[in-house]
């Protein structure tokens, strides 16, 4: 008999087994973020040429581990928690096969430890992308494979839960939009993991000597089938969290279920094709393949992101206006709860993802202007806007929400929590903006020494490049402080926060269920169908403020796009 707990504050239902799995995955994610953050500090202090902290070999080791712990382990552990929330909690359903859920967790944990162990042994500093013919230790690949198998199992537990919910009729009508977003994420995850298996399994055999040769170009194409798609899992997941938080904080309802779902459908169809933007300057593949996959297909996916970027704040605006914040274009936004870290994290995520991540992403996805910044520090700057201020901040926001609701602990240091999104988001924005600038001046990514000391073929960067890297790194240090504040608050709350439920002890914070009396055998009430939003047909005029914001984004994009083409022309001395 499935047992459920009802959250007394929010009315959410937690299936006992799902609850434990969500907690375990979220805690593992936080540990990965801690490791990644410490390494990020070491990396950024090395790229700050005036500090130049680590020696070369340790720099590349730290950079490899930073990329993998942050982008793979932190994000995907958290996404497993998101999948279980979106299926079991939001659909009020029992989780399908909790046993396989634990297999997911254990495999991913073992895999993560194994790969870290390989990296810190020192012979696997191959960067996150581990391009062949660079070779890492066998357990580097094996760890990643185990991790991926675990994640795939998690996806099928998710799909299984959808089936269970449908069969047991736990909801009426269609699944909620947030769950639909998670479906999108899980679909992309299946392709991601399949690509990963196709390339990492042979690479593993190559590392133990069973296969003699891995073609470098083949590796790049298939690897990016995983490497890029996994970023699209993040996008689908964090957009779902935007919708979730808009609903939780404002009671906002999607402006149009149809439009939002169609936008997700565009993700399912086209988002993954943009993998090809990583191959834009590779020889061996045709221009047709590059142009089809990056331009036409990618623009449809970008369109979908713009729809979400419009409907999420639009739904907030509509909800706020309904509450009477109707003055002018922006009263609804000014009077938003800016000191609630759940909201502020989410809103910073939305704005930076669109303005910094989105615009630079489209620029980099354009073959010609990509050439200006290819393989420069511009690239990490871009994806810190997407995966750090975008995805990571959305995940942080929802974590603040989950501490009382899921873990039944009161959040400690509420004053610091109010500031945390601004410290983290502000610091990372500085890092992003200045490294974008440095990249435009040609500063390489993954490069230990800007001075080229003793190199046969040196290069003198302009003094400005050093200044930009220095300021960017300073922002990175602030970002690390903000990240540390996040971990201090969350982990501190799990350990020392006031218990909102007497049985929420230490072990309960790590996945052990609460006291038996918290759960009942009673089935949760059926989730009612989302009421049709009469009169809200997604017209921009119900949300004029959002419409203006969208125009600002468009103008910023056009100006920035123009500047890049202009710059390209001047590089080739065509004007």
């Amino acid at each position: 008999m499935a047992q459920f707990r009802t959250c007394p504050d929010t009315g959410l239902y937690f299936h006992k087994s799902a609850e434990s799995l969500i907690k375990a995955n979220a805690v593992a994610a936080a540990v990965a973020l801690l490791v990644a953050g410490v390494l990020g500090l070491l990396v950024v202090l090395t790229r700050w040429q005036a500090v130049h902290l680590l020696p070369a070999d340790q720099f590349y080791m730290a950079l490899t581990a930073h990329g993998i712990d942050a982008l793979i382990f932190w994000i995907i552990f958290f996404e497993m928690a998101v999948l279980y929330v979106a299926s079991s909690v939001l659909l009020r359903s029992r989780l399908a096969t909790p046993f396989w859920g634990w297999v997911q967790f254990v495999l991913m944990l073992v895999g993560a430890i194994m790969t870290n162990w390989a990296i810190f042994q020192g012979n696997s500093s191959v960067m996150m992308t581990s391009y062949a013919p660079m070779q890492a230790a066998p357990h580097f690949y094996l760890g990643l494979i185990l991790f991926a198998v675990g994640a795939l199992i998690g996806c099928f537990v998710f799909f299984g839960t959808l089936v269970v919910a449908k069969q047991e009729k736990t909801y009426d009508g269609s699944i909620p939009l947030v769950t639909f977003g998670a479906v999108t994420a899980a679909i992309i995850a299946v392709f991601t993991i399949a690509s990963g298996a196709i390339i990492l399994v042979p690479t593993f055999f190559w590392s133990i000597g069973y296969i003699s040769h891995i073609d470098a170009e083949m590796y790049r194409i298939v690897w990016w089938g995983m490497g890029h798609s996994s970023q699209q899992i993040n996008v689908a997941a964090h957009v779902a969290i935007w919708y979730l938080i808009a609903g939780l904080v404002f009671g906002a309802r999607p402006m149009s279920e149809k439009v939002s779902r169609s936008a997700y459908l565009l993700y399912i169809l086209f988002l993954q094709l943009a993998c090809a933007h990583h191959i834009l300057v590779d020889p061996g593949v045709s221009a047709e393949w590059k142009v089809f996959n990056t331009s036409y297909a990618m623009y449809l996916a970008v369109l979908a992101s713009m729809i979400h970027g419009l409907t999420v704040p639009g739904s907030i605006e509509v909800a706020q206006r309904a509450k009477g914040f109707n003055n002018g274009l922006f009263e609804w936004l000014r009077k938003a709860p800016w000191d609630n870290p759940v909201f502020s994290s989410m809103f910073i995520s939305l704005v930076t993802f669109g303005f910094l991540g989105g615009i630079t992403g489209v620029v980099m996805g354009t073959e010609q202007i990509n050439l200006i910044i290819h393989n420069t520090i511009y690239v990490p700057a871009h994806f810190h806007a997407t995966v750090v201020t975008g995805t990571t901040m959305a995940f942080m926001g929802v974590t603040f929400f989950l501490i009382p609701v899921l873990f039944r602990r009161q959040m400690i240091l509420p004053g610091l929590a109010k500031l945390q999104p601004y410290i983290f988001g502000g610091g990372m924005t500085i890092l992003i903006l200045f490294m974008l600038g440095a990249g435009t001046l040609g500063v390489s990514r993954r490069h230990w020494d800007m001075d080229f000391t003793g190199a046969a073929l040196g290069f003198d960067y302009p003094g400005m490049a050093y200044t930009l890297m220095g300021i960017g790194a300073f922002g990175g240090v602030i970002g690390v402080v903000g990240g540390a504040a996040f971990l201090l608050i969350t982990v501190g709350s799990l350990l020392f926060g006031k218990k909102l439920e007497p049985s929420a002890g230490l072990l309960q914070s790590f996945g052990v269920p609460l006291a038996a009396s918290c759960y009942t055998d009673e089935r949760p009430a059926i989730l009612p169908r989302a009421a049709a939003a009469e009169g809200h047909h997604g017209s921009s005029f119900e949300a004029p403020g959002t419409f203006v914001l969208a125009l600002v984004l468009l103008v910023t994009f056009v100006v920035y796009y123009f500047i890049n083409w202009k710059y390209l022309a001047s590089v080739w001395q065509l004007s």
């Binding site: 799909f159 959808l162 009426d172 009508g173 269609s174 699944i175 639909f180 479906v183 999108t184 899980a186 679909i187 992309i188 299946v190 392709f191 399949a194 690509s195 196709i198 073609d215 170009e217 083949m218 194409i221 298939v222 089938g225 798609s229 779902r261 169609s262 459908l265 399912i268 169809l269 086209f270 993954q272 094709l273 993998c275 090809a276 191959i279 061996g284 593949v285 045709s286 393949w289 089809f292 996959n293 297909a297 009430a525 059926i526 009612p528 169908r529 009421a531 049709a532 009469e534």
Partner: protein
């Protein structure tokens, strides 16, 4: 628990539009979502690599 749609009863019984049957079927979506990139990105890309002539 009758918080269902505001629409009158008979509207709800109307034929479900094709688009909605697609969106309500996660496994069909899964198929499409895996097939698209497999065909256009992986297979097409790999075909181009394997048809590069080997240097003499």
């Amino acid at each position: 628990m009758k918080e269902t749609s505001d629409k009158p009863e008979k509207d709800q019984e109307e034929k479900i539009p094709a688009m909605q049957t697609l969106i309500d079927n996660p496994f069909l979506l899964l198929f499409i979502g895996v097939a698209m990139p497999t065909v256009f990105y992986l297979i097409w890309g790999i075909m181009e690599i394997v048809t590069i002539p080997v240097a003499p």
